[in-house]
């Protein structure tokens, strides 16, 4: 009997929009950080996720410093859609980064509108955030497919040094005998994308440049892309939840704030990924 009363009591509050069984229902919560449990959960999750990404980036650092030579990002990431063979070092990735940061700004605006309890504003800026995230993913898909078309694989790297250590994209083929991807070689001469022949740098052979480059690139940007993808899905959910009036009924847009925290985190991680792969 007593239990029944309790459960009913909890439900009273559920209908008013609180989680069941919160002590806040009975008295002021004594959170030392003055935040709700939901936001705190998100913060701790992000802390945990930060450790995952840190481990990846430390792996990147360890493998990079253990190699004597590393491809020059200005030569690897210099393509731009609809621009033919015009080379614009880091041009495309700058646009991608700008789009992602812009989408973070949109989400900030959505959170602000949430504080004002302005449903239309939240919907508008969430839509912007979602569009930005989707555009970023589209850009990433283009960049990946372009690099794959150039021969980059998780296990093979066609970006090799010449005798002076300059980075070149070399032509590669699949060896029909072994089934493994190799450079097109005559002696120690390889052909670059424009058909020019050049001498391969010392210590490199038909198996191409530093293998870890492609592995790390696809692995880490892929893992980040997976986070962006998840974030877009979550934001789409947030959009429709707002549309249905869920948060208006609850009386606050804290869920949009939590989604925002995740989205800014994904953005922040990209800054570090960008730094590691494109700038250093």
């Amino acid at each position: 009997m007593a239990e029944e009363t309790l459960l009913k009591h909890a439900d009273t509050h559920e209908h008013e929009g609180h989680e069941p069984f919160m002590p806040a229902d009975e008295f002021e919560s004594n959170s030392p950080m003055k935040v709700s449990y939901g936001k705190m959960m998100m913060w701790y999750f992000l802390l945990s996720d930060a450790f995952t990404f840190s481990a990846f980036l430390i792996t990147y650092g360890a493998l990079r410093v253990s190699n004597k030579w590393w491809p020059d990002p200005n030569h690897v990431f210099n393509a731009m859609p609809f621009m033919g063979h015009k080379q614009i070092p880091l041009g495309f990735v700058s646009i991608m980064t700008f789009i992602l940061i812009l989408s973070s700004v949109f989400v900030v605006l959505a959170v602000i509108e949430g504080h004002r309890m302005n449903k239309k504003g939240v919907l508008l800026w969430m839509l912007g955030g979602i569009a930005g995230g989707a555009a970023f993913l589209g850009c990433q898909a283009w960049e990946w497919s372009h690099l794959i078309s150039e021969g980059l694989r998780p296990f093979f790297n066609p970006f090799v040094p010449d005798a002076q250590g300059m980075t070149h994209l070399a032509k590669s083929i699949v060896d029909p005998e072994t089934g493994r991807r190799v450079l097109e070689m005559t002696g120690n001469m390889v052909t670059d994308a424009h058909g020019h022949k050049f001498q391969l740098g010392e210590g490199f052979g038909k198996f191409g440049g530093v293998g870890a480059f492609g592995a790390l690139f696809f692995g880490i940007t892929g893992f980040h892309g997976f986070h962006v993808f998840t974030g877009v899905l979550l934001n789409v959910w947030g959009f429709f939840a707002t549309l249905s009036g869920k948060f208006e009924k609850v009386g606050h847009y804290e869920m949009i704030e939590k989604l925002g925290l995740y989205w800014h985190f994904v953005d922040l991680v990209w800054v570090f990924v960008f730094l590691a792969f494109y700038l250093l």
Binding site: A2, E3, E4, T5, L6, L7, K8, H9, A10, D11, T12, H15, E19, P20, F21, M22, P23, E26, F27, S29, N30, S31, P32, M33, S36, Y37, G38, M40, M41, Y44, F45, L47, S48, D49, F51, T52, F53, S54, A55, F56, T59, A62, L63, S66, N67, R153, P154, F155, R180, F207, V210, G211, A212, G214, A215, F218, G219, F223
Partner: protein
């Protein structure tokens, strides 16, 4: 308070009457299976943990049979275990599989999920005065991720080529090349899938434990009025939250190496004279990523046990815990230091000797907070009115094995001594005593102590005594001699020592160890029998004695079988710390946390301030 609730409730009834029915149908499925009640989830973790402990223990018996009697054949084992025992003799590949799975099961499934999962779920809300975890739904998911993870790992035992067999540390290349050993194929793939699910479960559990402790404490329950169990479980959750993700990164990269042909952890490798296409990776890198989890993991295993032992020792010796704040800060110290000592597992892996000396320093520093705790337990017991029962015996046994196992840690933490002792039975003895036996003792103490709260009945004390004394003595018979084996250089992980004439002098000792292992294993079945029997037939806890141990903490203020929400009326209010034992000159020798301070006590506090 109660009045306010009923008024609201009445008003509410009028408003939402049609809603009521379909909200409150308590079906078998939402009460026992997909439940969001932290107490039921705790029991789910406990049952699953016990199931795994039996499997993990059985595996150790199987490979101890091989180590004790390497020449004998056991046709009966072939009947039971099929081609693990071809012609009644343990297959070498099966031996490695059993060792690997014993480690994996015991460390992750029993002493992480079974221990933290059970007691963090059960004790945190009950001892801080919360109705449930912060998010019951995420808490439920946490158990079901663990359940799925268990299913996958259990299924891997039935793969024809065997489960993972490269050691619980899954070092590449054995774990990275599917063709390396029979178990490196499907078995290893399933291991990685299972662990990915497990990490998800730990993450969700940990998020709940942390936020619940920080946000959902009842009125008056300041952080420094929390029982030490809650403090320990809180720090355990933080360690898990920050170390498991790094294992996830390592596991993801390992999966890439296995399936995409990348070379994160693989360098030039020849198999059967044929070069494989890997180059430039570093197996040492994996070891760093693994041990960044692997070392904090031992604190994930031992801290909950420490917390429960502190609580149980104070209660059953009827004395305030000695050095309450010192206990908390030593847990904090262990938590921080635990993150910066991982490379002491890699002294012999080609670690830079300078790095070795740094890691030696931090490792030896952990002895300081550990010793603080040990002395505090001993001084808590000192001249106490000790009530001996199964719970307190296991708690005292914990202190014994923690000292025995901790002291050898100081040996192994020295990079130079480790040159001689690494990968010998000395290491096996050290970590089994200090984190295996000790954590199990903490868990047993916890089960005996909180069983009445969990199931409303008491466990059988006679069986509990048998369980304690045989396990306590048996554990020392198993692991004490291993120190001697290790010091004379007997390597761990070997299938048989028949090729080494020098080690034949230990043949009889190995028989003794194996025989003791079998006896101890059977004794654990006595515990399981007692556990199951007592759930149905144990002496009942009655509502006129809700606090059988005369304990101060909040969980004993709930009804015999607390419903979902724990307290039928308002939440209790807390006025004092949980360790006011033997303070009164008259009346009962304990003062629960819910008893307001007396005028005398307030005066004392004011004079101190």
């Amino acid at each position: 308070m109660a009045e306010v609730i009923s008024k609201e409730h009445l008003a509410h009834d009028v408003h939402h009457a049609p809603h009521e029915e379909h909200h409150h149908v308590e079906t078998f499925i939402n009460k026992y299976i997909f439940t969001t009640d932290h107490k039921m989830i705790a029991r789910q973790f406990l049952f699953t943990g016990i199931f795994w402990a039996i499997i993990g223990g059985l595996f150790s018996v199987l490979f101890r049979v091989q180590l004790g009697w390497p020449d004998a054949t056991f046709p009966v084992l072939e009947k039971l275990f099929g081609n693990w025992f071809n012609d009644g003799k343990l297959d070498p590949n099966a031996y490695y599989m059993l060792v690997t799975m014993h480690g994996t099961i015991m460390v992750f499934f029993v002493l992480t999920a079974g221990l933290s999962g059970t007691f963090a779920n059960f004790l945190i809300p009950l001892q801080i005065g919360a109705r449930d975890m912060a998010s019951g739904f995420i808490n439920m998911l946490s158990y079901w991720f663990f359940f799925l993870s268990s299913l996958v790992m259990f299924a891997s035992l039935f793969v024809p080529t065997g489960a993972a067999s490269g050691g619980w540390t899954i070092y590449p290349p054995l774990s990275a090349l599917p063709q390396a050993t029979p178990g490196s194929g499907t078995g290893m793939t399933l291991w990685l899938i299972s662990m990915a699910l497990f990490i998800g479960s730990t993450l969700m559990g940990g998020l709940n434990y942390i936020t619940t402790v920080l946000n959902l404490r009842t009125r008056g329950m300041d952080l420094f009025k929390m029982p030490l169990t809650v403090w320990a479980l809180f720090f355990t959750a933080i360690i898990g939250l920050l170390s498991f993700p790094v294992l996830l990164s390592g596991a993801v990269l390992l999966i890439f190496d296995r399936s995409l042909g990348t070379s994160f952890f693989l360098s030039d490798i020849y198999i059967g004279g044929k070069a494989l296409g890997y180059s430039g990776g570093s197996p040492i890198l994996f070891q760093h990523l693994f041990w960044f989890l692997g070392h904090p993991e031992v604190y994930i295993v031992i801290l909950p046990a420490m917390g429960m032992v502190s609580e149980i020792l104070a209660t059953h010796s009827r004395k305030p815990i000695f050095g309450y704040k010192a206990m908390i800060f030593s847990i904090l110290g262990i938590t921080i230091l635990g993150f910066i000592v991982w490379a002491h597992h890699m002294f012999m892996s080609g670690l830079n000797p300078f790095a070795g000396s740094v890691f030696t320093l931090f490792t030896l520093l952990i002895a300081v907070p550990s010793a603080v705790k040990v002395f505090n337990w001993l001084t808590t017991l000192w001249r106490g009115n000790i009530h001996l029962n199964s719970a307190s015996l296991f708690a005292i046994g914990f202190v014994s094995v923690f000292i025995s196992g901790g002291v050898t840690g100081i040996w192994l933490g020295n990079a130079t001594i480790d040159i001689q002792l690494h990968d010998t039975y000395f290491v096996v003895a050290h970590f089994h005593i200090v984190m295996g036996i000790a954590a199990f003792f903490g868990m047993f103490a916890g089960v005996y102590h909180w069983f009445p709260k969990m199931f409303g009945r008491f466990m059988n004390e006679t069986m509990g005594y048998i369980h304690f004394f045989v396990t306590f003595l048996g554990s020392y018979v198993i692991f004490w001699p291993m120190h001697y084996l290790g010091m004379s250089g007997v390597p761990r992980r070997y299938y048989s020592f028949k090729e080494f004439a020098a080690f034949s002098q230990y043949d009889d000792l190995n028989k003794v160890i194996s025989a003791a292992a079998i006896v101890v294993f059977i004794t654990q079945l006595v515990f399981v029998a007692n556990f199951i029997y007592s759930i149905y037939k144990g002496r009942k806890m009655t509502s006129d004695n809700l606090n059988p141990w005369n304990s101060n903490t909040l969980e004993w203020t709930t009804p015999v079988e607390p419903g979902h929400g724990n307290w039928p009326g308002a939440l209790p209010t807390v006025y004092r710390w949980p360790y006011d034992y033997s303070k009164n000159t008259t009346g009962p020798d304990f003062t629960p946390q819910t008893v307001p301070l007396t005028e005398q006590e307030i005066k004392e506090l004011e004079s101190h301030a």
